[in-house]
Protein backbone atom coordinates (compact mmCIF):
# COMPACT_ATOMS: atom_id res chain seq x y z
CA UNK A 1 0.00 0.00 0.00
CA UNK A 2 1.42 3.35 -1.04
CA UNK A 3 0.92 6.38 1.13
CA UNK A 4 0.25 9.75 -0.41
CA UNK A 5 0.34 11.52 2.92
CA UNK A 6 1.96 10.58 6.18
CA UNK A 7 2.26 13.15 8.95
CA UNK A 8 4.31 12.72 12.09
CA UNK A 9 3.11 14.39 15.29
CA UNK A 10 1.92 17.43 13.38
CA UNK A 11 1.22 20.24 15.85
CA UNK A 12 0.05 23.81 15.50
CA UNK A 13 -0.32 26.27 18.33
CA UNK A 14 -1.83 29.74 18.18
CA UNK A 15 -0.64 31.67 21.21
CA UNK A 16 -1.23 29.12 23.98
CA UNK A 17 -4.00 27.24 22.20
CA UNK A 18 -3.10 23.91 20.58
CA UNK A 19 -5.25 23.69 17.49
CA UNK A 20 -3.64 20.63 15.93
CA UNK A 21 -2.22 18.19 18.45
CA UNK A 22 0.40 15.55 17.48
CA UNK A 23 -1.59 14.46 14.48
CA UNK A 24 -0.49 11.31 12.62
CA UNK A 25 -2.45 11.20 9.41
CA UNK A 26 -2.09 8.49 6.81
CA UNK A 27 -3.77 8.67 3.42
CA UNK A 28 -3.57 5.73 1.01
CA UNK A 29 -3.03 6.22 -2.71
CA UNK A 30 -6.17 6.33 -4.86
CA UNK A 31 -8.43 6.32 -1.86
CA UNK A 32 -10.98 8.83 -0.71
CA UNK A 33 -10.17 9.96 2.79
CA UNK A 34 -12.88 11.58 4.85
CA UNK A 35 -11.51 14.05 7.39
CA UNK A 36 -14.25 14.39 9.96
CA UNK A 37 -14.66 16.56 12.99
CA UNK A 38 -16.89 19.18 14.57
CA UNK A 39 -16.46 22.87 13.81
CA UNK A 40 -13.23 24.21 15.27
CA UNK A 41 -11.66 20.75 15.55
CA UNK A 42 -8.65 21.78 13.48
CA UNK A 43 -9.51 20.36 10.04
CA UNK A 44 -8.86 23.50 8.01
CA UNK A 45 -5.66 24.22 9.91
CA UNK A 46 -4.36 20.70 9.23
CA UNK A 47 -5.16 20.96 5.53
CA UNK A 48 -3.51 24.39 5.35
CA UNK A 49 -0.37 22.90 6.87
CA UNK A 50 -0.38 20.19 4.19
CA UNK A 51 -0.51 22.93 1.56
CA UNK A 52 2.26 24.93 3.20
CA UNK A 53 -0.11 27.85 3.84
CA UNK A 54 0.45 27.55 7.58
CA UNK A 55 3.71 26.53 9.24
CA UNK A 56 3.40 23.77 11.84
CA UNK A 57 4.75 24.54 15.30
CA UNK A 58 6.29 21.07 15.32
CA UNK A 59 6.02 17.78 13.47
CA UNK A 60 6.52 16.85 9.84
CA UNK A 61 4.54 15.87 6.81
CA UNK A 62 5.51 13.54 3.93
CA UNK A 63 3.49 14.37 0.86
CA UNK A 64 3.70 12.40 -2.40
CA UNK A 65 6.91 10.83 -1.15
CA UNK A 66 8.68 14.07 -0.18
CA UNK A 67 9.19 15.75 3.16
CA UNK A 68 7.36 19.08 2.88
CA UNK A 69 9.51 22.16 3.44
CA UNK A 70 9.51 25.74 2.23
CA UNK A 71 11.96 24.94 -0.59
CA UNK A 72 10.09 22.08 -2.24
CA UNK A 73 6.62 23.36 -1.36
CA UNK A 74 5.73 24.72 -4.80
CA UNK A 75 7.09 21.73 -6.70
CA UNK A 76 5.03 19.37 -4.50
CA UNK A 77 1.98 21.58 -4.90
CA UNK A 78 2.16 21.25 -8.68
CA UNK A 79 0.66 17.80 -8.13
CA UNK A 80 -2.00 18.90 -5.67
CA UNK A 81 -5.33 20.57 -6.25
CA UNK A 82 -7.07 22.28 -3.35
CA UNK A 83 -10.18 24.05 -2.23
CA UNK A 84 -9.85 25.50 1.28
CA UNK A 85 -12.90 26.82 3.10
CA UNK A 86 -14.83 29.18 0.82
CA UNK A 87 -13.92 29.13 -2.89
CA UNK A 88 -11.59 31.85 -4.20
CA UNK A 89 -12.76 33.76 -7.25
CA UNK A 90 -12.77 37.13 -9.02
CA UNK A 91 -16.44 38.09 -9.09
CA UNK A 92 -16.13 40.49 -12.01
CA UNK A 93 -14.69 37.79 -14.26
CA UNK A 94 -16.33 34.79 -15.89
CA UNK A 95 -15.55 31.21 -14.87
CA UNK A 96 -13.34 30.80 -17.93
CA UNK A 97 -11.44 34.01 -17.18
CA UNK A 98 -10.94 32.91 -13.57
CA UNK A 99 -9.54 29.57 -14.68
CA UNK A 100 -7.34 31.27 -17.27
CA UNK A 101 -5.43 32.97 -14.45
CA UNK A 102 -4.50 29.65 -12.83
CA UNK A 103 -3.78 28.10 -16.21
CA UNK A 104 -1.36 30.95 -16.98
CA UNK A 105 0.48 30.73 -13.65
CA UNK A 106 0.89 26.96 -13.93
CA UNK A 107 1.70 27.00 -17.66
CA UNK A 108 -1.03 24.49 -18.45
CA UNK A 109 -2.55 23.84 -21.88
CA UNK A 110 -5.69 25.86 -22.66
CA UNK A 111 -7.69 22.70 -23.26
CA UNK A 112 -7.56 21.93 -19.52
CA UNK A 113 -9.97 24.82 -19.00
CA UNK A 114 -12.55 23.29 -21.32
CA UNK A 115 -12.04 19.90 -19.75
CA UNK A 116 -12.61 21.01 -16.15
CA UNK A 117 -15.53 23.29 -17.02
CA UNK A 118 -17.14 20.22 -18.52
CA UNK A 119 -16.25 18.02 -15.55
CA UNK A 120 -17.93 20.35 -13.06
CA UNK A 121 -20.74 21.07 -15.51
CA UNK A 122 -20.20 24.80 -15.76
CA UNK A 123 -19.58 24.72 -19.52
CA UNK A 124 -23.06 26.10 -20.21
CA UNK A 125 -22.62 29.10 -17.88
CA UNK A 126 -18.94 29.80 -18.44
CA UNK A 127 -19.67 33.26 -19.92
CA UNK A 128 -21.52 34.57 -16.86
CA UNK A 129 -19.82 36.72 -14.25
CA UNK A 130 -19.01 34.63 -11.19
CA UNK A 131 -20.57 37.23 -8.86
CA UNK A 132 -23.89 36.22 -10.41
CA UNK A 133 -23.32 32.54 -9.65
CA UNK A 134 -25.16 30.63 -6.93
CA UNK A 135 -23.15 29.25 -4.01
CA UNK A 136 -23.23 25.78 -5.57
CA UNK A 137 -21.87 27.10 -8.86
CA UNK A 138 -19.10 28.99 -7.07
CA UNK A 139 -18.25 25.81 -5.21
CA UNK A 140 -18.09 23.94 -8.53
CA UNK A 141 -15.81 26.65 -9.94
CA UNK A 142 -13.58 26.15 -6.89
CA UNK A 143 -13.55 22.44 -7.69
CA UNK A 144 -12.67 23.22 -11.32
CA UNK A 145 -9.75 25.39 -10.12
CA UNK A 146 -8.54 22.50 -7.98
CA UNK A 147 -8.80 20.02 -10.85
CA UNK A 148 -7.29 22.13 -13.63
CA UNK A 149 -3.75 20.75 -13.19
CA UNK A 150 -5.04 17.14 -13.16
CA UNK A 151 -3.50 16.66 -9.70
CA UNK A 152 -2.47 13.36 -8.14
CA UNK A 153 -3.91 14.57 -4.84
CA UNK A 154 -7.03 16.63 -4.31
CA UNK A 155 -7.64 18.38 -0.98
CA UNK A 156 -11.18 19.60 -0.48
CA UNK A 157 -12.17 21.41 2.70
CA UNK A 158 -15.91 21.17 3.35
CA UNK A 159 -16.77 21.30 -0.36
CA UNK A 160 -20.44 20.66 0.32
CA UNK A 161 -20.82 23.32 3.01
CA UNK A 162 -23.95 25.41 2.48
CA UNK A 163 -25.20 23.40 -0.48
CA UNK A 164 -28.70 22.03 -0.87
CA UNK A 165 -29.15 18.22 -0.95
CA UNK A 166 -29.07 17.98 -4.73
CA UNK A 167 -25.90 20.08 -4.84
CA UNK A 168 -24.35 17.84 -2.21
CA UNK A 169 -25.32 14.77 -4.18
CA UNK A 170 -23.81 16.19 -7.37
CA UNK A 171 -20.45 16.98 -5.77
CA UNK A 172 -20.42 13.63 -4.01
CA UNK A 173 -20.83 11.77 -7.30
CA UNK A 174 -18.16 13.88 -8.92
CA UNK A 175 -15.67 13.18 -6.12
CA UNK A 176 -16.55 9.49 -6.11
CA UNK A 177 -15.65 9.23 -9.81
CA UNK A 178 -12.20 10.80 -9.53
CA UNK A 179 -10.02 7.93 -8.20
CA UNK A 180 -11.22 5.46 -10.83
CA UNK A 181 -11.28 7.91 -13.74
CA UNK A 182 -8.08 9.85 -13.12
CA UNK A 183 -6.23 7.83 -10.49
CA UNK A 184 -6.54 10.66 -7.98
CA UNK A 185 -6.38 10.49 -4.23
CA UNK A 186 -8.93 12.71 -2.50
CA UNK A 187 -9.04 14.15 1.02
CA UNK A 188 -12.42 15.62 1.80
CA UNK A 189 -13.27 17.21 5.12
CA UNK A 190 -16.67 17.65 6.70
CA UNK A 191 -18.27 18.21 10.05
CA UNK A 192 -21.14 15.90 9.15
CA UNK A 193 -20.67 12.16 8.89
CA UNK A 194 -23.83 11.89 6.79
CA UNK A 195 -22.37 14.12 4.08
CA UNK A 196 -19.43 11.88 3.34
CA UNK A 197 -20.21 8.39 4.62
CA UNK A 198 -21.36 7.25 1.19
CA UNK A 199 -18.28 8.38 -0.66
CA UNK A 200 -15.20 7.74 1.49
CA UNK A 201 -13.06 4.64 1.88
CA UNK A 202 -11.16 5.76 4.97
CA UNK A 203 -11.91 8.22 7.73
CA UNK A 204 -9.86 10.26 10.12
CA UNK A 205 -11.91 11.62 12.99
CA UNK A 206 -10.48 14.66 14.71
CA UNK A 207 -11.64 16.49 17.82
CA UNK A 208 -9.81 19.33 19.56
CA UNK A 209 -6.85 18.81 17.27
CA UNK A 210 -6.40 15.11 18.17
CA UNK A 211 -6.94 12.13 15.90
CA UNK A 212 -9.64 10.02 17.61
CA UNK A 213 -9.95 7.28 14.99
CA UNK A 214 -8.26 6.56 11.70
CA UNK A 215 -8.90 3.67 9.35
CA UNK A 216 -11.45 2.04 7.11
CA UNK A 217 -14.91 3.48 7.40
CA UNK A 218 -16.38 -0.02 7.39
CA UNK A 219 -14.30 -0.90 10.49
CA UNK A 220 -15.65 2.08 12.42
CA UNK A 221 -18.83 0.28 13.46
CA UNK A 222 -16.74 -2.41 15.11
CA UNK A 223 -15.80 0.07 17.83
CA UNK A 224 -19.24 -0.49 19.28
CA UNK A 225 -21.49 -3.08 17.62
CA UNK A 226 -24.58 -1.84 19.35
CA UNK A 227 -24.42 1.71 18.03
CA UNK A 228 -24.94 3.45 14.70
CA UNK A 229 -22.03 5.16 12.93
CA UNK A 230 -23.52 8.51 13.83
CA UNK A 231 -23.58 7.64 17.52
CA UNK A 232 -20.00 6.38 17.43
CA UNK A 233 -18.92 9.60 15.69
CA UNK A 234 -20.65 11.67 18.36
CA UNK A 235 -19.11 9.55 21.11
CA UNK A 236 -15.63 10.06 19.66
CA UNK A 237 -15.94 13.79 19.15
CA UNK A 238 -18.42 14.75 21.83
CA UNK A 239 -16.58 13.26 24.78
CA UNK A 240 -13.36 15.03 23.90
CA UNK A 241 -15.15 18.28 23.09
CA UNK A 242 -16.81 18.39 26.49
CA UNK A 243 -13.59 17.85 28.40
Amino acid sequence: MKEVIHTYKLTKQYKKKTVVNELDMIVREESIYGFLGPNGAGKSTTLKILLGLVKPTSGEADILGKKLNSQNRLSILKNIGSLIESPSYYGHLTARENLQIIQTILDLPKKNIDAVLKTVRLDKQEGKKVSEYSLGMKQRLGLASALINMPKLLILDEPTNGLDPSGIQEIRELIRSLPKEYGMTVIVSSHLLSEIDQMVDDVGIIANGRMMYQGRLNKLHMLDEGKSLEEIFLDLTGKEASL
Binding site: K48, K55, I101
Partner: protein, 250 residues
Amino acid sequence: MIKLIKCEYLKTRRRYILPVTLGITAMYLALLFYGEYSDDALRQGWWALLYQLPLLNTMFMPILCIVVASRLCGLEHKGATFKQLFTLTSKGSLFTAKLIYGLGIITVPILIQFAAIYIAGCYLGFGGVYPLNLYLIYLLSTLLTTYAIYVFQHCMSMLFKNQAVSFFVGIGGEFTGLFSMFLPQIPCLRKILIWGYYGDMQFVGNNWDRETRINDFYLMDINYAAFFIITTVAVLMYLIGKKLFTDKEV
Protein backbone atom coordinates in the same frame (compact mmCIF):
# COMPACT_ATOMS: atom_id res chain seq x y z
CA MET B 1 7.51 36.78 -13.25
CA ILE B 2 6.28 37.72 -16.76
CA LYS B 3 3.50 35.16 -16.31
CA LEU B 4 2.46 36.72 -13.01
CA ILE B 5 2.43 40.23 -14.47
CA LYS B 6 0.29 38.96 -17.34
CA CYS B 7 -2.07 37.53 -14.72
CA GLU B 8 -2.37 40.96 -13.14
CA TYR B 9 -3.63 42.18 -16.47
CA LEU B 10 -6.03 39.23 -16.74
CA LYS B 11 -7.40 39.89 -13.25
CA THR B 12 -8.13 43.55 -13.90
CA ARG B 13 -10.04 43.16 -17.15
CA ARG B 14 -13.24 45.23 -17.05
CA ARG B 15 -12.09 46.99 -13.88
CA TYR B 16 -11.33 50.15 -15.93
CA ILE B 17 -8.19 50.93 -13.98
CA LEU B 18 -6.34 52.62 -16.82
CA PRO B 19 -9.41 54.63 -17.98
CA VAL B 20 -9.97 55.88 -14.41
CA THR B 21 -6.30 56.84 -14.22
CA LEU B 22 -6.53 58.68 -17.53
CA GLY B 23 -9.69 60.47 -16.37
CA ILE B 24 -7.92 61.80 -13.28
CA THR B 25 -5.00 62.84 -15.48
CA ALA B 26 -7.33 64.72 -17.84
CA MET B 27 -8.77 66.64 -14.87
CA TYR B 28 -5.29 67.44 -13.71
CA LEU B 29 -4.25 68.78 -17.10
CA ALA B 30 -7.42 70.83 -17.42
CA LEU B 31 -6.68 72.45 -14.06
CA LEU B 32 -3.07 73.03 -15.06
CA PHE B 33 -3.77 74.82 -18.32
CA TYR B 34 -7.11 76.43 -17.60
CA GLY B 35 -7.20 80.20 -17.50
CA GLU B 36 -6.15 83.31 -19.38
CA TYR B 37 -2.50 83.81 -20.10
CA SER B 38 -1.07 87.33 -19.97
CA ASP B 39 1.87 88.19 -22.20
CA ASP B 40 4.05 88.10 -19.16
CA ALA B 41 2.78 84.68 -18.15
CA LEU B 42 3.38 83.34 -21.64
CA ARG B 43 6.87 84.74 -21.68
CA GLN B 44 7.78 82.83 -18.55
CA GLY B 45 5.51 79.83 -19.18
CA TRP B 46 8.13 77.09 -19.08
CA TRP B 47 9.50 78.34 -15.78
CA ALA B 48 6.13 79.08 -14.25
CA LEU B 49 5.07 75.46 -14.81
CA LEU B 50 8.19 74.07 -13.22
CA TYR B 51 7.34 76.25 -10.25
CA GLN B 52 3.67 75.20 -10.03
CA LEU B 53 3.91 71.49 -10.85
CA PRO B 54 5.30 70.21 -7.52
CA LEU B 55 2.27 71.56 -5.65
CA LEU B 56 -0.19 70.12 -8.14
CA ASN B 57 1.64 66.80 -8.10
CA THR B 58 1.44 66.72 -4.30
CA MET B 59 -2.31 67.07 -4.67
CA PHE B 60 -2.97 64.61 -7.49
CA MET B 61 -0.33 61.91 -7.59
CA PRO B 62 -0.98 60.42 -4.13
CA ILE B 63 -4.68 60.11 -4.98
CA LEU B 64 -3.80 58.33 -8.17
CA CYS B 65 -1.59 55.95 -6.18
CA ILE B 66 -4.35 55.26 -3.66
CA VAL B 67 -6.88 54.52 -6.38
CA VAL B 68 -4.66 52.25 -8.45
CA ALA B 69 -3.23 50.29 -5.50
CA SER B 70 -6.64 49.74 -3.88
CA ARG B 71 -8.20 48.62 -7.12
CA LEU B 72 -5.41 46.16 -7.82
CA CYS B 73 -5.23 44.70 -4.31
CA GLY B 74 -8.86 45.02 -3.23
CA LEU B 75 -10.04 42.42 -5.71
CA GLU B 76 -7.80 39.79 -4.09
CA HIS B 77 -9.14 40.45 -0.59
CA LYS B 78 -12.70 40.58 -1.86
CA GLY B 79 -12.50 37.20 -3.59
CA ALA B 80 -10.37 35.53 -0.86
CA THR B 81 -7.96 34.64 -3.66
CA PHE B 82 -4.67 34.94 -1.79
CA LYS B 83 -5.02 31.50 -0.17
CA GLN B 84 -5.47 29.95 -3.61
CA LEU B 85 -2.68 31.96 -5.26
CA PHE B 86 -0.27 30.99 -2.46
CA THR B 87 -0.67 27.34 -3.47
CA LEU B 88 0.36 28.25 -7.02
CA THR B 89 3.25 30.65 -6.53
CA SER B 90 5.31 32.26 -3.79
CA LYS B 91 3.94 35.17 -1.81
CA GLY B 92 7.01 37.25 -2.55
CA SER B 93 6.77 36.97 -6.32
CA LEU B 94 3.05 37.71 -6.18
CA PHE B 95 3.79 40.82 -4.14
CA THR B 96 6.46 41.96 -6.58
CA ALA B 97 4.49 41.19 -9.75
CA LYS B 98 1.51 43.20 -8.57
CA LEU B 99 3.81 46.07 -7.59
CA ILE B 100 5.47 46.12 -11.01
CA TYR B 101 2.10 46.14 -12.73
CA GLY B 102 0.90 49.02 -10.56
CA LEU B 103 4.09 51.02 -11.11
CA GLY B 104 3.61 50.49 -14.84
CA ILE B 105 0.10 51.90 -14.70
CA ILE B 106 1.14 54.86 -12.57
CA THR B 107 3.91 55.73 -15.05
CA VAL B 108 1.41 56.35 -17.86
CA PRO B 109 -0.17 59.54 -16.45
CA ILE B 110 3.26 60.96 -15.57
CA LEU B 111 4.51 60.48 -19.12
CA ILE B 112 1.25 61.88 -20.53
CA GLN B 113 1.63 64.93 -18.30
CA PHE B 114 5.23 65.37 -19.42
CA ALA B 115 4.29 65.22 -23.11
CA ALA B 116 1.16 67.35 -22.63
CA ILE B 117 3.20 70.14 -21.05
CA TYR B 118 5.50 70.32 -24.04
CA ILE B 119 2.65 70.21 -26.55
CA ALA B 120 0.50 72.73 -24.70
CA GLY B 121 3.48 75.04 -24.10
CA CYS B 122 4.33 75.11 -27.79
CA TYR B 123 0.69 75.52 -28.73
CA LEU B 124 0.13 78.41 -26.30
CA GLY B 125 3.39 80.00 -27.41
CA PHE B 126 5.50 79.98 -24.26
CA GLY B 127 8.50 82.27 -24.60
CA GLY B 128 12.13 81.24 -24.76
CA VAL B 129 13.64 77.83 -25.30
CA TYR B 130 12.07 74.71 -23.77
CA PRO B 131 14.47 73.91 -20.89
CA LEU B 132 14.70 70.21 -21.67
CA ASN B 133 17.39 69.48 -19.08
CA LEU B 134 15.35 70.97 -16.28
CA TYR B 135 12.22 69.15 -17.42
CA LEU B 136 14.09 65.85 -17.46
CA ILE B 137 15.22 66.45 -13.89
CA TYR B 138 11.64 67.35 -13.04
CA LEU B 139 10.42 64.13 -14.69
CA LEU B 140 12.87 62.04 -12.70
CA SER B 141 11.91 63.68 -9.40
CA THR B 142 8.21 63.16 -10.12
CA LEU B 143 8.69 59.52 -11.08
CA LEU B 144 10.79 58.72 -8.02
CA THR B 145 8.47 60.41 -5.52
CA THR B 146 5.36 58.90 -7.09
CA TYR B 147 6.96 55.46 -7.13
CA ALA B 148 7.84 55.78 -3.45
CA ILE B 149 4.27 56.77 -2.61
CA TYR B 150 2.97 53.94 -4.77
CA VAL B 151 5.16 51.39 -2.99
CA PHE B 152 3.72 52.64 0.29
CA GLN B 153 0.12 52.37 -0.92
CA HIS B 154 0.81 48.95 -2.39
CA CYS B 155 2.11 47.67 0.95
CA MET B 156 -0.90 49.08 2.81
CA SER B 157 -3.40 47.69 0.33
CA MET B 158 -1.77 44.26 0.31
CA LEU B 159 -1.44 44.00 4.09
CA PHE B 160 -4.81 45.39 5.16
CA LYS B 161 -7.94 43.72 3.95
CA ASN B 162 -10.02 46.82 4.56
CA GLN B 163 -9.08 49.28 1.83
CA ALA B 164 -10.32 52.17 3.97
CA VAL B 165 -7.10 51.81 5.99
CA SER B 166 -4.85 52.48 3.02
CA PHE B 167 -7.19 55.24 1.85
CA PHE B 168 -7.15 57.19 5.11
CA VAL B 169 -3.45 56.75 5.77
CA GLY B 170 -2.72 57.79 2.19
CA ILE B 171 -4.97 60.86 2.39
CA GLY B 172 -3.44 61.76 5.74
CA GLY B 173 0.03 61.59 4.19
CA GLU B 174 -1.05 63.65 1.23
CA PHE B 175 -2.48 66.43 3.42
CA THR B 176 0.62 66.54 5.56
CA GLY B 177 2.63 66.73 2.36
CA LEU B 178 0.53 69.65 1.11
CA PHE B 179 0.81 71.32 4.48
CA SER B 180 4.59 71.01 4.31
CA MET B 181 4.62 72.92 0.99
CA PHE B 182 3.21 75.96 2.74
CA LEU B 183 5.59 75.75 5.65
CA PRO B 184 9.07 76.22 4.23
CA GLN B 185 9.97 77.35 7.77
CA ILE B 186 9.89 73.71 8.88
CA PRO B 187 11.98 72.06 6.17
CA CYS B 188 12.27 68.81 8.08
CA LEU B 189 8.53 68.15 7.63
CA ARG B 190 8.89 67.68 3.89
CA LYS B 191 12.04 65.65 4.34
CA ILE B 192 10.66 63.04 6.69
CA LEU B 193 7.47 62.34 4.72
CA ILE B 194 7.50 60.76 1.28
CA TRP B 195 4.60 63.04 0.29
CA GLY B 196 6.80 66.07 0.91
CA TYR B 197 9.36 65.16 -1.72
CA TYR B 198 7.64 66.81 -4.67
CA GLY B 199 8.21 70.03 -2.77
CA ASP B 200 11.59 69.04 -1.41
CA MET B 201 12.94 68.41 -4.90
CA GLN B 202 11.52 71.59 -6.34
CA PHE B 203 14.30 73.60 -7.95
CA VAL B 204 12.55 76.68 -9.35
CA GLY B 205 11.79 79.56 -7.00
CA ASN B 206 9.64 82.61 -7.44
CA ASN B 207 9.91 86.30 -6.51
CA TRP B 208 6.69 88.19 -6.76
CA ASP B 209 7.05 91.91 -6.92
CA ARG B 210 4.03 93.54 -5.31
CA GLU B 211 4.62 96.91 -6.98
CA THR B 212 5.15 95.85 -10.55
CA ARG B 213 3.02 92.68 -10.22
CA ILE B 214 5.73 90.80 -12.01
CA ASN B 215 6.74 87.22 -11.30
CA ASP B 216 10.35 86.44 -11.48
CA PHE B 217 11.48 82.82 -11.51
CA TYR B 218 14.94 81.65 -10.65
CA LEU B 219 16.84 78.39 -10.48
CA MET B 220 17.68 77.04 -7.04
CA ASP B 221 20.23 74.39 -6.15
CA ILE B 222 19.12 70.98 -7.25
CA ASN B 223 18.75 68.72 -4.25
CA TYR B 224 20.51 65.59 -5.49
CA ALA B 225 20.58 64.04 -2.03
CA ALA B 226 16.78 63.94 -2.05
CA PHE B 227 16.81 61.81 -5.22
CA PHE B 228 19.01 59.34 -3.45
CA ILE B 229 17.00 59.38 -0.20
CA ILE B 230 13.60 58.85 -1.82
CA THR B 231 14.93 55.96 -3.89
CA THR B 232 16.42 54.31 -0.82
CA VAL B 233 13.20 54.79 1.13
CA ALA B 234 11.17 53.25 -1.70
CA VAL B 235 13.43 50.19 -1.82
CA LEU B 236 13.31 49.79 1.97
CA MET B 237 9.52 50.05 2.06
CA TYR B 238 9.34 47.42 -0.68
CA LEU B 239 11.59 45.03 1.25
CA ILE B 240 9.76 45.54 4.55
CA GLY B 241 6.31 45.26 2.94
CA LYS B 242 7.31 42.09 1.13
CA LYS B 243 8.66 40.54 4.32
CA LEU B 244 5.50 41.38 6.29
CA PHE B 245 3.33 40.03 3.48
CA THR B 246 5.34 36.81 3.22
CA ASP B 247 5.20 36.22 6.96
CA LYS B 248 1.43 36.61 7.12
CA GLU B 249 -0.48 33.32 7.27
CA VAL B 250 -3.87 32.95 5.65
